[in-house]
């Protein structure tokens, strides 16, 4: 079947949702829900807009969408409560000689 190609790479809004960038980086960010104060700084700083403060089990916490997190680490570096850690993806946990 032929694909449809928008001339000039013209794109309609929200098309970027289809581009899952979560497999780009070697690391992912993880939020420690105990330490997180839901201050929303990471939400503001995430260049991909993939952190959202949500209510989970009665507490507001930052949630990282690993479908889009590129592992840049900005969130971890701006978190004032040490609540975000970058973790190596399982795939990259290999011995390299």
């Amino acid at each position: 079947m032929k694909i449809r190609l928008n001339i000039g790479a013209i794109s309609e809004p929200l098309q970027s949702e289809q581009f899952k960038t979560g497999d780009w980086g070697t690391e992912w960010s993880f939020v420690d829900r105990e330490k997180c104060t839901a201050c929303r700084v990471c939400e503001q700083f995430c260049p991909d807009g993939c952190i959202e403060v949500k209510e989970i089990e009665g507490k507001e916490v930052a949630v990282v969408d690993h479908n889009y997190c590129k592992g840049c680490g900005v969130c971890a570096s701006v978190c004032r409560y040490g609540a975000i850690k970058m973790e190596l993806k399982e795939l990259f946990k290999v011995d390299v000689c």
């Binding site: 001339i7 309609e12 970027s16």
Partner: protein, 388 residues
């Protein structure tokens, strides 16, 4: 209405008749007078539904036109040399976004050393951008090309930027009689530009979006196909123009004395000089014809092969060079004629405005035909390289 005008005015006047919506440029010799004249027309209120924007650089000028063209405006700019290569990052984008921006490039040498004079090195550097390139011989042809450029570039099957290349000074600043077009002739030939998709808040879109490896290549294939379609559409537009204006500039090529054994091929204003050279050589009994190459991109391979199928010797007049190889037109021509067996002799001359007198050119062509002249740079002084 026939008037004696300078090349820049013949272009500016034609642009005005095409009713552009956005004109944006940064001054650079010898293009400046084109946009200066347009700015004057704009200030005098002669350009309706148009905005003239002054930019802080050629990069900015091209960027503004990308935005304007994407928003559905008919756009114009003129530049050359350093200005063109400063635009190049943006112009590759304009081609990829399939925006029908019309550019007049007043061919000028590239730095360094700094030169404001004419050769074709600047537009050759943009060869692979996905921009249609047509080279004109005189100011009437430059004038006539402007409405045709819009018609071709804006054709839905094409949608590519269009660059009209005219020799700096030799054409831009030369006085020539030009039959200036009537507004109603242009209006009947060139419909207003109305793209189906453009930047609007009513139906938001983005142009030239990110394409990962699984989809990038298809866009480049689409550009190549658009160029191939342009080749046919241009022939049709050229023919229509001949009917509308009464002036027939030929197709992608003009071949003079097609039955000759030897041919000279060139682009731009030097073709005018070669017409005279060819006449004189024929009067001396030498069988020589002339191929004026008008369209450089898309490159008219089949037309060239057909026109030169019986040629024994082809002399290429290049006014630019691909350092480390040879003259640019020579490279393209040899590639187009692959499998055929004419002898191709390539002369690189006239760089940076170096004068090419008629008798000098005639001797070169004659000696090449007689087998007494080899390919290479011609008309330069021998020198010894020193470090001061």
């Amino acid at each position: 209405m026939k008037k004696v005008v300078r090349g820049f005015y013949s272009v500016a006047y034609a642009v005005k008749l095409c009713k552009p919506n956005i004109i944006c440029a940064y001054p650079i010799t010898p293009q400046t007078e084109i946009v200066e004249n347009l700015a004057l027309m704009y200030a005098n209120g002669e350009l309706e539904n148009c905005k003239y924007i002054t930019a802080e650089s050629e990069f900015a000028a091209a960027s503004i036109l990308v935005g304007a063209s994407a928003a559905g405006a008919r756009t114009f700019t003129a530049t050359c040399s350093q200005g063109l290569i400063l635009m190049s990052e943006v112009l590759f984008n304009a081609a990829g976004m399939r925006l029908p921006i019309v550019i007049v490039n007043t061919n000028r040498a590239l730095s360094a050393p700094l030169s404001i004079w004419n050769d074709l090195q600047d537009s050759m550097a943009l060869r692979d951008a996905g921009i249609i390139q047509v080279y004109v011989e005189n100011n009437q042809e430059a004038h006539d090309m402007v409405p045709q450029a819009y018609k071709i570039a804006e054709d839905k099957r094409v949608r590519l930027p269009f660059m009209i290349c005219m020799d700096g000074y030799k054409l831009t600043h030369a006085y020539e009689p030009v039959d200036l077009l009537d507004q109603n002739v242009v209006d009947s030939f060139l419909p207003p530009y109305s793209p189906e998709v453009y930047l609007t808040t009513k139906k938001p879109v983005a142009f030239g979006c990110y394409a990962p490896p699984h989809i990038y290549m298809e866009f480049r294939v689409a550009m190549q196909r658009a160029m191939e379609r342009a080749k046919e559409i241009m022939e049709k537009v050229f023919a229509d123009w001949a009917e509308v204006s009464g002036r027939n500039w030929g197709g992608h090529l003009e071949v003079v004395y097609p039955d000759s054994k030897n041919f000279v091929i060139a682009m731009g204003s030097i073709v005018g000089l070669l017409r005279k050279v060819v006449e004189e050589l024929r009067n001396e009994g030498i069988s020589v014809g002339l191929v004026k190459l008008r369209t450089f991109r898309p490159f008219p391979v089949q037309e060239l092969r057909k026109s030169l199928e019986n040629a024994e010797k082809i002399i290429v007049i290049d006014r630019s060079v691909s350092f480390g190889y040879e003259g640019n037109l020579s490279i393209e021509l040899k590639s187009a004629l692959y499998g055929m067996s004419p002898e191709v002799i390539s002369f690189i001359l006239g760089l940076g405005g170096r004068d090419v007198p008629k008798d000098f050119l005639k001797e070169l062509v004659k000696n090449a035909i007689l087998g007494k002249e080899k390919s290479g740079f011609k008309g330069f002084k021998e020198f010894e390289e020193v470090i001061p």
